[in-house]
């Protein structure tokens, strides 16, 4: 019997990665809160995670090889294509759509969700360690 890490860890590994990515996007929004013409961006977490889940369930799926930088990937995690623009609630006159309060709330929420994903992942690891030790 072999332990398959991808099966043992479940979706939490991808979730943690996406949370990190989202934290980066939100941090960028906050850093550019005073940049004229900057548009706030965000990722659709649910859609991306679903994509990941599908990619995981049919891991046997055929992937086309990309030998050139201009080739389009057929089935890969690429958050940049999923970067969306936030709909501004109070757009400012200089074309900036960052609402610092909203971004901060989203960032804090994302941090908490990251921590819960981490907790789940840590639990899986602990479970596996217990199984190995047999205590």
């Amino acid at each position: 019997m072999t332990i398959s890490f991808s099966k043992a860890l479940g979706i939490h590994e991808q979730a943690l990665e996406l949370r990190t990515k989202r934290a980066e996007v939100l941090a960028n929004n906050i850093a550019n809160a005073d940049t004229p013409g900057f548009k706030a961006r965000d990722i659709d977490f649910r859609a991306l995670l679903n994509e990941q889940k599908q990619g995981m369930s049919n891991s046997q799926s055929l992937k086309m090889a990309t030998t050139n930088g201009k080739h389009l990937p057929t089935n890969s995690f690429d958050a940049s294509s999923e970067l969306l623009y936030r709909i501004p609630s109070q757009p400012s006159i200089d074309g900036n759509t960052v609402d610092t309060q909203t971004e901060k709330v989203e960032f804090m929420k994302n941090t908490l969700q990251y921590q819960s994903s981490f907790q789940f992942l840590n639990g899986r690891f602990k479970g596996m360690t217990n199984a190995i030790r047999g205590e």
Binding site: E17, T20, K21, A23, E24, V25, A27, N28, I30, A31, N32, A33, D34, T35, P36, F38, R41, A79, S80, L83, T100, K104, F107, M108, T111, Y114, Q115, F118, L121, N122, F125, K126, T129
Partner: protein, 147 residues
């Protein structure tokens, strides 16, 4: 590792806000610096913020280890421009720097505007510090994975 980039992003935000605070301090300090001609008068200075495009960053680093995303990463100060607002002319014939018509020129610094700019800059700085702190906590937790 994406979490490392948060430090760079928040750090760029902090440095941009501190440059803004620096110009504000300079403007307020020179708000009453009189001069006898329009050419010598201090003019209010303002930083111009711009988002760092990733391509430029990649070029500067000389490698493409960053993910290929068209999004921006952090903020930069493109330059510091002098304000075009009209200068203040005051009729003070007994001022040592008065010109032949008795006028003294004062900078176009709006102190109220500078004060609100100062508050905005310090709040922005604070927010970036908090983001950095949160990223630090996330990273520290990640180090305890599996323990």
């Amino acid at each position: 590792m994406s979490l490392n980039q948060i430090f760079d992003i928040a750090g760029s935000g902090m440095s941009a806000q501190s440059i803004r605070l620096n110009t504000t301090a300079s403007n307020i300090a020179n708000a009453e610096t009189a001069s006898s001609s329009t050419g010598d008068v201090y003019r209010a200075r303002k930083p111009v913020f711009a988002a760092v495009q990733q391509d430029a960053m990649r070029q500067a680093m000389g490698s493409d280890f960053l993910a290929e995303t068209p999004e921006s990463k952090g903020v930069t100060v493109k330059g510091i421009v002098e304000s075009d607002a009209p200068l203040q002319m005051r009729y003070q014939p007994d001022h040592p720097q008065a010109d032949e018509r008795g006028y003294v020129y004062y900078p176009n610094v709006n102190v109220v505007e500078e004060m609100s700019d100062m508050m905005s800059a310090s709040r922005g700085f604070q927010t970036n510090v908090e983001i950095m702190d949160a990223a630090k906590t996330m990273m520290q937790r990640l180090l305890t994975l599996g323990q």
